[in-house]
């Protein structure tokens, strides 16, 4: 009978319920009604599972034990893994190029479970990178009383791409699950060394794949790219550079000497506008030097535009003054000749 647990609610405890599938029928008698109210439901009591009799063997392709659902015990050198992590002590090695198959057999015991386990896999996890791949295991032989034998055969040659061409140590684990089990089981057998073929170098035509294809589709760090830089350009010896610097400056010295010998008339440029015009030209040249050394283009243009306007105004005044001065001197010469 059920105990009341609030208005319109009853609770029934069923201690010691064995694992299995039950049909639950509830009957509720209401005072003042002749007919009771009945309802039924299906109830499943789950059972835990345990993995045992794990056997691991490395066999050739075509061996009777090299097949999912085959009896791994038929392999000549099958190893019994008596406890979790015990496989690494044996130093098992399997090779993909040698077309070897890693055969794993195990038993899942779940007495009384409403349904046998349906999901059984063998998982290989690369110890260095953590990349893993799972391979299905099939029932091997007839099921026993509350237990089922499974076996999986991992053809390393065919699984090379699934294992990302990564050789090295792998952690082998057995994964079991099913709706009749109270919880899944991950049984870690231990470590096995796997040798795989190298990833073949495929050269795709230019732009056949997107440039970011490798980085968008990788599950592990890509190999580092070492760029081949052009060798540095040959440079001349330092004394030669100094010599040609001197040769390039020498014409300037000769120019200054020649201008000094010609004794130019600079009296016309001593006016305020003349000095201002020369100053503006000098400022523009200094701005060009600053633009070359440090100042960005747009900043240089921001300084240059007003400077150009100022130079135009000042230059027009200076050159007009020069023109007037020259015209007045010419007129004075003509009057003197007359």
């Amino acid at each position: 009978p059920g105990a009341p647990e609030g208005p319109g609610a009853f609770a029934v405890e069923l201690p010691g319920l064995e694992p299995g599938v039950y049909t639950l029928r509830a009957t509720l008698a209401v005072r003042g009604r002749t007919k009771a109210v009945a309802a039924s439901a299906t109830l499943a009591a789950l059972a835990p599972a345990a993995v045992s009799r794990v056997r691991v063997a490395v066999v050739e392709e075509g061996d009777p034990a090299a097949g999912a659902g085959a009896d791994v015990g038929l392999a000549p050198a099958a190893l019994d893994v008596v406890s979790e992590g015990a496989l690494g002590e044996e130093g098992l090695t399997a090779s993909g190029p040698a077309r070897e198959v890693l055969a794993v057999g195990f038993r899942v015991s779940s007495p009384g479970a409403p349904a046998p386990p349906q999901q059984a896999y063998v998982q290989l996890t690369h110890a260095a990178t953590g990349a893993d791949a799972t391979f299905p295991a099939l029932p091997a032989g007839a099921p026993g009383e509350g237990s089922v034998d499974f076996s999986a055969a991992v053809s390393l040659h065919n699984a090379t791409e699934a294992l990302l061409f990564a050789s090295g140590d792998y952690d082998l684990a057995v994964l079991v699950g099913g709706w009749g089990l109270s919880e899944g089981v991950a049984w870690r057998a231990g470590r096995v060394r796997v040798e795989l073929a190298e990833r073949p170098a495929v050269t795709y035509p230019l732009y056949a794949r997107p440039l970011l294809h490798d980085s968008d589709n990788t599950l592990a760090p890509l190999p580092e790219i070492v760029h081949a830089m052009n060798p540095p350009a040959p440079r001349p010896p330092v004394p030669v550079s100094y010599l040609f610097t001197a040769l390039a400056v020498a014409p300037l010295a000769l120019l200054l000497a020649a201008l000094g010998a010609l004794r130019p008339n600079v009296s016309l440029l001593t006016s305020v506008w003349g000095v201002g015009f020369i100053g503006c030209l000098g400022a523009m040249l200094l701005l060009f030097v600053a633009y070359w050394i440090r100042v960005p283009l747009y900043s240089a243009l921001a300084y240059l535009v007003p400077l150009v306007g100022l130079t135009v105004v000042v230059g027009q005044r200076a050159l007009s003054a020069l023109a007037r001065e020259r015209a007045s001197r010419k007129a004075a010469v003509h009057e003197h000749q007359d």
Partner: protein, 147 residues
């Protein structure tokens, strides 16, 4: 644009040996006679050109000539360096070379405009203003490219 054409100069007492001398009087050998007139003619030509230049060229044109020669010489030095030592960095070589070459071209153009016999009657000041503008544009382009 270099002033009036050269006129044949009358022989003077300061010139070298002439054909007015009599036969047999200190006549040099045949080979030396062929070389000496050639050298003498070249020397006379250079002397005549220099004298005409000094007489016809103004101080302004002389200064512009000096500046054009300075710019061209600097361009030649850069070209020789590039030919002997390689063009690295190439953009810098192009900038320096075209800066000096461009300055020489602009200076020669200015000189052509300011000679008295020039066909264009643009004023001296306007020519200089255009020259300054061209040079500044050239420098801006060169500095943008020099790297």
């Amino acid at each position: 644009g270099f002033g009036p054409p050269l006129r044949p100069r009358p022989p003077s007492a300061a010139s070298g040996p002439t054909m007015a001398r009599g036969r047999g009087e200190n006549r040099p050998s045949a080979g030396a006679a062929a070389a000496a007139p050639a050298g003498g003619v070249l020397r006379e030509l250079v002397t005549a050109v220099a004298a005409d230049y000094r007489s016809t060229a103004t101080k302004k044109t002389m200064m512009l000539d000096c500046f054009a020669i300075f710019a061209a010489a600097t361009a030649v030095v850069q070209a020789v360096y590039c030919f002997l030592m390689g063009s690295f960095p190439f953009n810098s070589f192009l900038s320096g070379f075209f800066a000096t070459l461009g300055m020489a071209v602009f200076t020669v153009a200015l000189r052509l405009q300011i000679t008295p016999s020039a066909a264009s009657k643009t004023s001296l000041e306007q020519c200089f203003a255009e020259y300054a503008l061209c040079c500044l544009l050239l420098f801006f382009a060169v500095v943008s490219f020099i790297g």
